[in-house]
């Protein structure tokens, strides 16, 4: 009895999830098909699931006129994601280790400092002042990832993970004469691999998708990331369409073509979309790891 019931429930859930994922997929399919359509037919007939008048013109146009810029933005994005993830993981695990060490007197204070920033923040203005006037992060490559080096949530995730490693292992290492450096690099990091992969993925995704830091800190086009290029384009269209443009004296600026917008979207999403299915299992596994303590 119980099994048939749960079977029925399972079928229901599967159907539900299938419908839900189709709904999520629709915009993406429309974007891909839009980017492969011809501009004239999109303008005349609107979007459809299959490309209208299949053509690669838009991509040729994008790469023809903006190739250099797109490639640069791509490489900045990649660089920021790589550098950002490596340094953020390093900083985060180090902090998490310190907070998780048994017998360290100030660990609770440190944990509280981090926790405090989750509840309260100084706001944008002081942040901007600090970043530009004191740390001079504007228009530098490091400005694109340094402000995000410590994500407190991920730090606590990692702390929990470290705590789930049996203390005896650490103890025996200590008896063998290992210092904190040795314990951290030779024991904790290898044992915490799954947690490490999880937070790396979170960070990588965050750095790849970020457009806020370039918006705030970068004016030099050479440091634009691909997401910011995209944001820039969308923000301009939004503004011109909103009617606020009339305040700037009826400025008419030809908005970018519909198909170009879609092609940019595809270019931005592509790497993540390709990688995600392969990496996704780490997300799930990583989040529950450390949540159950024996």
């Amino acid at each position: 009895m119980a099994t048939t019931e749960s079977k029925g429930l399972m079928i229901f859930f599967y159907c539900f999830i299938a419908v839900f994922s189709i709904i999520c997929l629709i915009p993406f399919v429309l974007a891909v098909s839009g980017s492969l359509s011809t501009e004239a037919r999109i303008a005349a007939e609107g979007y459809s699931f299959l490309p209208r008048g299949f053509s690669l013109e838009t991509y040729q146009f994008l790469f023809g006129s903006k190739a250099e810029q797109i490639i640069r933005a791509y490489s900045v994005s990649l660089l920021v994601t790589a550098l950002g993830t490596v340094s953020a993981v390093l900083v985060t695990t180090a902090y998490a280790y310190v907070v998780s060490v048994k017998g360290f007197r100030f660990k609770n204070v440190l944990a509280f400092f981090a926790y405090f920033t989750m509840l309260f923040s100084g706001g944008t203005l002081p942040w901007y002042l600090l970043s530009t006037k004191y740390y001079h992060l504007n228009n530098t490559l490091i400005g694109l990832f340094v402000p995000y080096l410590l994500n407190v949530f991920l730090m606590f995730l990692m702390t929990n993970y470290f705590r789930s490693i049996p203390h005896e292992i650490v103890e025996s290492a200590e008896i063998d004469g290992a210092g904190h450096m040795r314990i951290f690099f030779s024991m904790m990091i290898p044992l915490g691999r799954v947690g490490l992969v999880t937070i790396s993925l979170f960070y990588a995704l965050q750095f790849w998708n970020d457009f806020y830091l370039p918006l705030m800190l970068v004016s030099n086009q050479e440091l634009y990331t691909i997401q910011y290029m995209m944001y820039n384009m969308m923000a301009n269209i939004q503004f011109l369409a909103s009617g606020n443009a009339a305040q700037v004296s009826g400025a008419i600026i030809a908005p970018p073509l519909e198909t170009a917008k879609m092609a940019m979207t595809c270019l931005t999403v592509l790497p993540i979309a390709i990688l995600y299915p392969f990496l996704q299992r780490f997300f799930v596994r990583g989040i529950v790891v450390g949540s159950v303590k024996g």
Binding site: A40, Q247, V248, S249, I253, A254
Partner: protein, 503 residues
């Protein structure tokens, strides 16, 4: 092994420190470049070298980037001995966002503004007072209307320098019509609301896929049909009657005129002249217009040629023309400026900024350079001075610079249209409210609440999405509760004081 780890972590720390210092290196590299250039410019006379940052909104094109480092750089250096850095921000940051942050954190820059943003920012003290430096912009003063300067004064002080001088009276008071469709259905012109609707019906019969009006606001173009007054709006709530010589303001939403207007719009909405999706997806309207899927739009003097370029990508045979739905009321102008530049109060050398603005409107040669680029490389001129662009990259946005003394038209614009454009402002009057800036501090709360009520109730009534009789009583109640009376009284008080002083 342990030593290795220590070294590794030391190395990483060092690497971080090093990369953190690289910003400092950039700084010194720039100063080197500066000193190299110093000796180069003699014609800028005794001026000390200066560095200026000009923020522009929109996309930076490749050509703009190139010119900013070469010709623009050289010319500006030579003229006013300054190095100008052009920074581009997305339009979402205009009059707020990062612009606000940059102002409040005391960055040294200049960019353009509208009157609303100016009033807000001056209250915060983040705009520099430019009155003392006006003398350093003689060419700009000669080429820009005096009334445009007054518009950007507060308490007798000049807080922003207007640029541009173009016929822009009666903005949105005309109907911009697809002339090609008009001719297709056998009509030649449109001169009344009845004819406009006839035009719509005829086109709709042949092309049911086209929408009628590509906007949700037609209070200006329909003026001739619902009132005898010559209304000019100060904001969403307040209008002036330009045909009366008094200081009375009109509470727009409480007027009979609004009722009649809402009725007309509701008719349009029901008839489908305004598409059903307009209520939920307003941005789509302009996209439709741009892709040639709409029959008419609100017109301005320049829209027939500014807009034609966009539409012709989708509909090559499209032609545009302006018509008024009535006659006998003078066109109203808010001033002929395009926009105005302010300088942040933290700027070290506001005077030099003003000198830079002067260059933008100084003479034909500089105008051509900033708006169109280099002759032969970016554009060519024929014997009539008509422009053909070789390179379509936008430079300093030409809508911003647009000055009727310097503007060049391209070959596709007919001669009679240019004549019409140049004569557009003939007989126009400057609004009696031009130069008045409302100080909203006493009624700030009321204003915020009123804006909420406007979006929720009045905008849909005004666009005809809902029936006036059904919704208006509730809307009025909400307006009163939000403090409409207090707001109107405060506005009237300030306006009367100002009016008495200036008349």
């Amino acid at each position: 092994m342990k030593k290795n780890r220590v070294w590794l972590s030391l190395f990483l720390t060092f690497a971080f420190l090093l990369s953190a210092c690289s910003s400092g290196n950039n700084g010194s590299a720039n100063t080197n470049a500066g000193s190299k250039e110093e000796s180069a410019s003699e014609s800028a006379g005794s001026l000390a070298p200066a560095k200026l940052t000009i923020v522009l909104y929109g996309d930076e094109t490749n050509r703009m980037k190139e010119l900013a480092k070469t010709e623009f750089y050289d010319v500006i250096k030579q003229e006013i001995n300054a190095e100008v850095e052009f920074q581009f921000l997305p339009w979402s940051e205009y009059a707020g966002g990062k612009t606000d942050l940059m102002l409040s954190t005391g960055e040294d820059f200049a960019t353009y503004t509208d009157i609303n943003y100016m009033v807000k920012s001056v209250a915060k003290g983040v705009y520099a007072d430019l009155t003392p430096y006006l003398d350093t912009a003689p060419d700009l003063s000669a080429n820009v209307d005096e009334a445009s300067f007054t518009a950007f004064q507060l308490g007798g002080k000049q807080y922003a320098i207007p640029v541009g001088n173009k016929p822009n009276s009666a903005e949105f008071y005309s109907v911009l019509v697809r002339q090609d469709l008009l001719e297709e259905v056998g009509m030649t012109s449109v001169s009344s609301l009845a004819e406009l609707e006839e035009f719509y019906d005829k086109v709709h019969a042949i092309h049911p896929e086209l929408i009628g009006y590509a906007s949700t606001d037609a209070r200006r173009m329909l003026l001739y049909d619902y009132t005898d007054k010559n209304l000019y709006w100060q904001n969403e709530f307040i209008a002036l009657d330009e045909s009366a010589e008094d200081d009375q303001i009109i509470s727009w939403f409480e007027s009979e005129d609004f009722k009649k207007y809402a009725g007309l719009m509701h008719g349009w909405y029901q008839k489908g002249i305004i598409p059903k999706y307009a209520a939920t997806n307003t941005p789509q309207l302009q996209s439709d217009w741009n892709s040639g899927k709409a029959i008419f739009w609100a017109g301005t003097a320049a829209r027939p040629f500014e807009g034609a370029a966009t539409i012709s990508q989708a509909v090559p045979e499209a032609k545009l023309a302006n018509y008024f739905l009535g006659t006998g009321r003078p066109k109203i102008s808010r001033g002929t400026y395009s926009t105005a530049f302010f300088v942040s109060s933290a700027a070290k050398d506001p005077e030099r900024y003003v000198m830079f603005f002067n260059l933008l409107q100084k003479n034909q040669e500089l105008y051509d350079l900033f708006a169109y680029g280099i002759e032969g490389t970016d554009y060519t001129l024929d014997e009539n001075g008509r422009l053909t662009k070789i390179n379509n990259d936008a430079l300093i946005p030409d809508w911003l610079l647009m000055n009727k003394n310097f503007i060049r038209f391209d070959n596709s614009v007919p001669e009679d249209f240019i004549a019409e454009y140049k004569a557009w402002d003939d007989g126009a009057i400057i609004s009696k409210g031009a130069g008045f800036n409302f100080d909203n501090t006493p009624v700030k709360n009321e204003e915020t609440k009123l804006n909420g009520v406007f979006t929720e109730y009045l905008a849909p009534i005004g666009s005809g999405f809902v029936d006036y009789d059904e919704v208006y009583p509730k809307a009025l109640e909400k307006l009163k509760a939000a403090g409409l009376d207090k707001y109107i009284a405060e506005y009237q008080k300030q306006y009367s004081e100002w009016y008495a002083k200036h008349n």
